[in-house]
């Protein structure tokens, strides 16, 4: 299904068969899985056919003229060059057609904007280049980032079926319930698009937008960021899993428990000493997922926007600054705070990784307690 047959068709076939292939799922807008997306699809098809009809009439007249009214057939040119009556007719007819188009368009639009009486609310926050989902009715929030390995992107590994459309933690929503999305951003403008729901809404930093959906079918639905948001704009997909309401509740309970467990583990972790190998292994995974896009897998970065970490004064020497930058970010640059994005364990490991990878070899083994102490701060240091 991933492969379309389309490109082998010659152009004339494409032009003529445009309407015919418009129903193929790989060549046309998806009808989606919600009532609204179906309405949007129907609207799209209606307008499409009207446009085809207009094209047929205009191009038809033009081609008839090209065939018949050519000098090589020995015709004498006519001399008419104006007619108020005709001008009025071909002003009025498009106006009527447009009114016919505007009525259903207005109706669908108003239905789309009605966010009242929702059952579940999710706050979606975009940032370079990941999505954050927070369930306002549950104690659940997490980041969702691209799960496709860099090896696939760089062609070292064969590409998987859902190449670039897979994430580590998908958004999970219940079916048959009205789910409301509140959208905002932490840095630049992103746009959250899931074609199957016919939702595309910009996430504006500092401002909040709303959209809603009610999914009819359980399933996995994929989308992408659609507003240019910097370097890795093409690498921040969206995956939504729609579950039956009962399954959703089970998932939510499990997720709440999982998040609570992570918090507990963090407390345990403070007393624990993690060894270098263990940290390097986890640290590399975290680095590749969160850091490598800018600082590059080899740690050489893309200066001057994204500095090299290899041989960097901070990663080589200034251990306190390293922790500080990871926890607080660097205001005014693309370097975000990772305090809320990574677990304490991940944060600690990736700092250790940065201090020992690519020949940095400081031998430093940072421990969770040290990072935690900085995060708590509280004037103690």
């Amino acid at each position: 299904m991933a492969k379309t047959r389309g490109w082998r068709w010659s152009l004339p076939a494409l032009l003529l068969a445009g309407p015919a292939c418009a129903s193929g799922s790989n060549l046309n807008m998806t009808p989606g899985v919600t009532d609204i997306s179906l309405q949007v699809y129907n609207l799209h098809m209606t307008i499409f056919w009207i446009c085809c009809a207009i094209g047929l009439v205009v191009f038809g007249a033009m081609f008839v003229s090209i065939l018949l009214h050519r000098k090589s057939r020995g015709v004498e040119p006519a001399t008419f060059h104006e007619s108020t009556k005709v001008e009025i007719i071909w002003t009025a007819i498009p106006v009527l057609i447009l009114i016919v188009m505007a009525i259903p368009a207005t109706r669908v639009l108003i239905a789309m904007e009605d966010t009242s009486d929702s059952d579940v609310t999710v706050l979606i926050t975009g940032s370079q280049w990941r999505w954050h989902y927070e369930y306002l009715d549950y104690d659940i929030n997490y980041f969702s980032i691209l799960a496709t390995p860099r090896g696939q992107i760089e062609g070292r590994l064969p590409k998987g079926e859902n190449y670039l459309l897979e994430v580590d933690r998908p958004l999970v929503i219940p079916t048959d319930k009205k789910v409301r999305f509140l959208m905002t951003s932490d840095d630049v403008i992103h746009s959250w698009w899931v074609p199957d729901f016919a939702i595309k809404k910009d996430t504006n930093p500092g401002f909040i937008n709303e959209a809603w959906t009610q999914v009819n079918e359980p399933g996995i639905y994929r989308g992408q960021c659609t507003e240019l948001c910097g370097m890795d704009h093409g690498f921040m997909p969206i995956v939504v899993i729609a579950k039956e309401p009962a399954d959703f509740e089970i998932w939510a309970k499990a997720e709440e428990a999982r998040i609570a467990e992570i918090r507990e583990e963090e407390q345990r972790l403070l007393a624990l000493q993690m060894n270098l190998d263990e940290q390097m292994e986890l640290g590399e995974r975290v680095y590749m997922a969160h850091c490598a896009a800018c600082h590059q897998p080899n740690g050489e970065g893309l200066p001057p926007m994204f500095p090299a970490l290899k041989g960097n004064q901070v990663t080589m020497e200034d251990r306190a600054e390293h922790i500080k930058v990871m926890v607080d970010g660097r205001p005014g640059t693309s370097m975000a705070s990772f305090a809320r994005q990574l677990s304490l364990r991940e944060l600690t490991s990736v700092i250790t990784y940065g201090r020992n990878a690519w020949g940095n070899d400081t031998g430093d083994v940072v421990q969770a307690a040290e990072v935690y102490e900085y995060m708590q701060g509280k004037g103690s240091n």
Partner: protein, 187 residues
């Protein structure tokens, strides 16, 4: 170059200058337009006086409070409760907890946004921490109050209003002056 030509060039140049100015004029014009129409959910930047509005007990409006520190703002920032049900016209106070877990002093500015945008016109703030910059010394915490009421004229189709605050670190632009009541919350 004749006189007629110079006049025309003069007029056209004036138009160029006027349009450049118009580009800038769009900034305040946009704010005015937002105030009138509620585009973008901008709430008024100035407090309203607490009028004796008639309380409409027949209606219940759910107010949702969202509070987010921006990713480069290390404060912990949250509302006391996530949701509140109010009658239009009633005056309520909502407290937000702010905590500065770092060792340095940080100045925050909360930026409000209301959804649906039009509802912003009917959400009145009598007092709000978002009107001024807030100063918080390292390791301290404070309660930041918001006093508000919902206009009884809120159109019937709205039953939920979402009020979001994004908190930014504006320490770099901090200009303490006497109007700032920030520190009295902090200490």
């Amino acid at each position: 170059m004749n006189a007629k030509q110079s006049t025309l060039i003069g007029k056209l140049s004036l138009l160029v200058v006027a349009m450049f100015a118009f580009g800038y004029a769009l900034v305040p014009l946009y704010d005015v337009f937002c105030d009138i129409t509620g585009i973008n959910g901008k709430t008024a930047a100035e407090p309203v006086s607490a009028e004796e509005a008639i309380v409409d007990t027949s209606r219940e409006i759910t107010i949702e409070f969202i509070a987010r520190p921006n990713q480069q703002m290390p404060w912990i920032f949250k509302p006391e409760v996530r949701r509140m049900t109010v009658h239009p016209g009633e005056i309520h106070v909502m407290n937000y907890l702010a905590e500065n877990p770092t060792i340095r002093s940080i100045v925050g500015q909360a930026v409000p946004s209301v959804s649906p945008g039009r509802a912003a016109l009917f959400f009145h703030k009598i007092e709000c921490f978002c009107f001024t910059q807030q100063y918080l010394a390292g390791g301290k915490d404070m309660l930041m109050p918001l006093q508000f009421y919902v206009d009884p004229a809120l159109p019937a189709q709205y039953s939920t209003i979402t009020l979001s605050y994004t908190l930014y670190d504006v320490t770099a632009q901090w200009q303490p002056d006497e109007h700032d009541n920030a520190s009295e919350f902090g200490e």
